[in-house]
Symmetry: C2
Subunit: 638 residues, 2 copies
Amino acid sequence: MENFNYPKLNLIKPVPSDIEIASSVEPLPIKTIAKSIGLLEEEIDFYGKYKAKVSLEVIERLKETENGNYVVVTGINPTPLGEGKSTTTIGLCQALGAHLGKKTFACIRQPSQGPTFGIKGGAAGGGYSQVIPMEEFNLHMTGDIHAITAANNLLAAAIDTRILHEGTQTDAQLWKRLCPVDSKDGSRKFAPIMLRRLKKLGIDKTDPNQLTEEEISKFVRLDIDPTRITWNRVLDTNDRFLRGISVGQGKEEQRFERKTNFDISVASEIMAVLALCTSLSDMRERLGRMVVGPSRSGEPITADDLGVGGALTVLMKDAIMPTLMQTLEGTPVLVHAGPFANIAHGNSSIIADQIALKLAGKDGYVVTEAGFGADIGAEKFFDIKCRSSGLKPNCAVIVATIRALKMHGGGPKVVAGTPLDKAYTSENIELLKKGVSNLAHHIKNLKKFGVGVVVAINKFHTDSDAEVNLLVEASLTAGANDAVMSDHWAEGGNGALDLANAVEKACKETNKDNFKYLYPLDKSIKEKIETIAKEIYGADGVEYSPEADDKIKLYTTQGFDKLPICMAKTHLSLSHDPERKGVPTGFILPIRDVRASIGAGFIYPLVGSMATIPGLPTRPCFYEIDIDTNTGKIIGLS
Amino acid sequence: MENFNYPKLNLIKPVPSDIEIASSVEPLPIKTIAKSIGLLEEEIDFYGKYKAKVSLEVIERLKETENGNYVVVTGINPTPLGEGKSTTTIGLCQALGAHLGKKTFACIRQPSQGPTFGIKGGAAGGGYSQVIPMEEFNLHMTGDIHAITAANNLLAAAIDTRILHEGTQTDAQLWKRLCPVDSKDGSRKFAPIMLRRLKKLGIDKTDPNQLTEEEISKFVRLDIDPTRITWNRVLDTNDRFLRGISVGQGKEEQRFERKTNFDISVASEIMAVLALCTSLSDMRERLGRMVVGPSRSGEPITADDLGVGGALTVLMKDAIMPTLMQTLEGTPVLVHAGPFANIAHGNSSIIADQIALKLAGKDGYVVTEAGFGADIGAEKFFDIKCRSSGLKPNCAVIVATIRALKMHGGGPKVVAGTPLDKAYTSENIELLKKGVSNLAHHIKNLKKFGVGVVVAINKFHTDSDAEVNLLVEASLTAGANDAVMSDHWAEGGNGALDLANAVEKACKETNKDNFKYLYPLDKSIKEKIETIAKEIYGADGVEYSPEADDKIKLYTTQGFDKLPICMAKTHLSLSHDPERKGVPTGFILPIRDVRASIGAGFIYPLVGSMATIPGLPTRPCFYEIDIDTNTGKIIGLS
C-alpha cells in the first residue's frame, strides 16, 4: 500500500452531478486494488473487472495480525433528505487512505435495488466521495441480495407446502414419503438434517425402523399454526401491492388459503443472519435455527425442522464473501450485507469488518457505517453487532448538518422534492442553538459505550462561520473528543483531512478496553427494552400492547429471552413520534408488537408501525433510466 | 485450440453418481478455456474462477469469419424420466472437441433453480458427460435469472402502482407528477422515454407546454384494464401457493385488490426476450414493446408506456452476455437463457449461438439444444429461433432411447421414482417395433425443414443388439442420414465418437440453403396453428374455445397476427393428450386460450392447461442438500 499510487481527483466547481463524477473517473482494475491491500490471488474471485469477492480464509491467514482501529460512522436524527453518513464514510476513508497513507477500509452496506428505481436513487455516496462503478454497486452487485431472495422464498415455499402435505396425508403417508424405503435394498435412512429434528424432539435414535408410532407422528407433523406464521416472502422491488396478499387461491391449494405479505428482500432475516454471522459454520447454524412460527402447541418451528437449513446455506455460500470495490480515490471498500434498518439492525456485516481489520493491521483503519441515527444504528452496532463479533470499536463519528439541527430547533418541515425554507439556506443562530441539543444528546449516549466521539459537520455552502463555531462548541461541551467541518462532498478526501486527523487522534486517545454494552443479556426482555428507552431515547417509561405482552411471554417461555433487543423505531426522532424533534421529554414509548429473529439472534419490538416494503411514486426514478445501446453506458441512474 | 491439451477422463465402472464424477474432476481455470477458444482478455468478465461472461463484441470482431456448422439436438416424445438430450449434447461436444479436435461449442440453457430443490435435481448432463462445476451451473450461475426476476417484478410493480395512481388522481395531478415543473427554472421536460408514448398516441410534440388538455389526458391515463392484465410476477422457486393469489389487500391498496399469480422466473417473457434478441439495441426495443395487457378500450399497453423499458434493459445489461463454462473434458460450453418450454420456445439464446458460430469458424461445430421433443422444441427452434436470428442449421440430432420407444409401443406406464417394468429392462422386440413409429414421425418432420437428421440412440446397458439394429433400420427407412448408438454417459466423449462422425458427415452432406420454415409469417394466426397441428402433430384439425377465438381476434386487430406461433403443448405425446403414445391419429387439437409475447415476438396458443410454477413434493431434494462447513463443499446436490 505504501508504494501505491492513488489516482488524483480532478475537482470541478460547481460540483457536477453524482453520475457525471462517477463516470468521469476510470476505476482501477479490482485486481490492482486487491494487490494493494495484500490479498493473495487465491483469496479473490472476480465478478467482472471492478468487483471481487474476498474469501474468509484471509481471517485465518492473518489471525496473528493485530486488528486495525475500528471506527463506526453514525448520525443525528436526520431530515428526510439524509445528512450524508455514507458520503462521510467514503470521504473519511479517502482522506485516511489516499491522503494520510493509512491502510484504510470502508465497510458499507449493499443497498436494496428497490429504492434505486423508486424515489431515492442509488446509495454510493455523493459528490467527490463515492464508490465506483456506481451502477454495479447499486444494481445486482455480486448477487448477494438475489441469493437472499432465493433462500428466503425457498423456505416460504417449504412452509406452505408442508402445511398442505400434512393437511392431506396420514402419518403413515407422510412417513413413507419423508423417509422412503430404498427401492433397491429395502432400507430406510434418515437424511442427516432429520437427525436435528429428532434431537430437538428428544428422540435419540438414528434408525428409522426403531421409531414408535407416536415418535413417527411427532417427527412427521410439524403442525405449524397457519395463523401465526412469521416468515414472509420477499422481493427486492418496491411493490406496495404485496403489502397485503392472499396465497393459495389455486384450485388445489384453496383449502389452505391464507393472508400474508411480502417484505423487501433486505428485511429478510437471512440478511440479518448474513450480517451477524462470523463464519460459514456459524451461518449454517443460524440459518437452521431461524424460527418460522409456532406449532399449534406453541413450539418454535425452525428451518431445520423443515429440512431446508442446509439448502439455504448452499444458496448463501457465495454471499458470505464480502465484495471488494473502490472509492473515487482508489481506496478499498468492502460491501457486504444491508439489513433493513426499519426492523433489523441496519449495519454492514461482521465478516467484512473482520477481514478489513486484519488487512488494515495495527496502524490501519476500518470505517464501518451504522444505519439510521445514533439512537438506533449505533446502539445496535454496539449492543448487537459488536456483541456478536466480540470486536471492540475505538471511536464513533457522528455526522451532523446545520440544516438538520435547525430543524430540531423548530425550523419548518423539510420535505423531499420541495425547495428548502430560507431558515435552512441562510444564517439562523436561534434555531441552531435550540436544535443542537439533539446532537448533544447523541454524543452523551455514545460516551456511555466508552468510545471516542468525533463530530463531523457535513458542510453545506450556506453554513455560516458563526453557526459552525456554535456547533463545535456545543459538541465539545457535550463531551465529544473533537468536532470538525468536513467538505469531502466538494473536495473528496482532501476535504476530509481535518476529520481524518480528528479520528486518528480520538482512536489514539481511546482505550478499547473501556468499551461496554448498554445492558447485559441476562436481564428480562422488558428490562432490556426499558434500559434502551430510558437511557438512549430519554423516555419516561414503556407501555406494551396486549400483543406485545403475549409475545414477550411466548418468547420467554421458548427460551429466547436472553437475546439482545433490536428496536424497530423511527429514525426521524429520538422518540417514537417522527414529528417530535430536538430532545423530546415526558413520553412513554409504546411497544405495539414484539417479534423475534432467532437465527439472526435478536428480539425486535415494534414501536409504531413499520412499512416493510416500500412503494413507487407516480413518477419513479426509472423514467430517467436507460442505456445507450451504442456504448452500453447507463443513463439517468442517480 | 490445436495445441490445447484436453484433460483425460479417468473412467470408472460401474459409473459413479453424477456429483461424484463432477467433483472428481478439477475444472480448468476458465481463463484457460477462454484463451483456448480465441477470446481476447477484454472480451471476458470473470465470475469466480470457473465462469466468465463473454462480450457481444466478439461477434463484431469476427464478423468476416464464416460461421461454424450449426447442429440442434432434439428428441422423441420422452418418458417422464427424460431421454438424455442434455447429456447427449455434452457428450457429442466432448467427442467432437476433445477427441476429433474440432472447435466445438455446446450452447445450452441455464436451468431454473426451482426444480433443483424440488424433484428434478440439477440439469448439467450426467455420467461422464457433464458441465462443471455443476453446483455453479445449477445455482445462481452469473445471476441472469435473478436479473430477470428483478426486471419482471419491477414491471409488475409499475403496473399495479400506476393503476392505483390513475385511480386516485385527476388528470392535472397526474400531469403535475409525471411531468413536473423544475423547481429551479420553472421549465417542464419530457423524459426521453415519454416521447415513445407520445409517438404511439400520434402526438408529434416534444414541449410539454404545447399539449392540449385532451392530449394530456391521453398521455397520463394508460387506463389499463385490471381484469385483463397478462403480466404476472415471477419467482425462481417451486412455490405452488403462488399459483393463485390476491394482491393489494393492504389498507391503502384494497380498493384496487385483484387476483393474479406468480410464474416461475424462466416463464417470464423477459427470459424469452433474452433468448431471442440479437443485440443490446434489439433487447432494448423488445423489452420496451412487451405488452402487459390492454387498456379498457383495447389498446395494447407496453413497458415503454409505463416508462420502464429503459430500466428493464439496465437490469438486463449483464444478463445479455452468455456465460462460458466447460465440460468434464475441457471443451467450452456457453450457457445462456432458458425460456420455459411449457409456454415459451424452450431454446437457449441466439446470442450464444452467434458468438459460438463465429468462434468455431468454418470447420467448427456449434451444438445447441432445443427443449422438449422435436414436435415442440425443434419446430420452435426452426420457426421461431432461426427465423429471429436468420441463422441456418445444418443438422438435427434426435435423441431416442429404446426404453421410451417401447413405452410408445404400448409398454407399461413409466413413473419417476418407481422401479421400471421388466418390459424396459429386457429385450422386447414386439413393443419396440410398434413404438419406433414415434421416432419415424419425428424424423419425417425434421426432414421437412431441409436439414440433415442423425438419430442418437442413448445407450442403456439393457439394450439388446437386436433392438438396436431394429432401431437403426427404422431410422434409415424413415429418412435419417444416420442412426448410431452412443455411450457418452458411461464413456464420455470417447463413447460418442460414432455419433460425432455421423454428425460431421451429415453436416457435410447437407446444403444449408435447403433450410426452410414450416410456414410463412403472413398467414393468419389460425392458418399457422393449423399448419403446425396437421403437419407436425398429425392432427385432423383444430378447435378453438370462445376465449381463444376472442384473443385471436384481439391480436389480429392489434396487428400482432404476423408473428410466429409458439405452441404450449405437452411434450409427452405428439397430440395434446399425454396418455396417447406412439403416433396418435384421428384427433382434433383443442386450443383452450391464446396469449401473446409481443416483446419476445410470438403468439402462444395453450393446448390444454399448463402449470407455470411447479410445486415441491413431500420430501423435496433439499433434504439432502447441505454444505460441509469445514471444506465449503456442497453435499447432496444432484
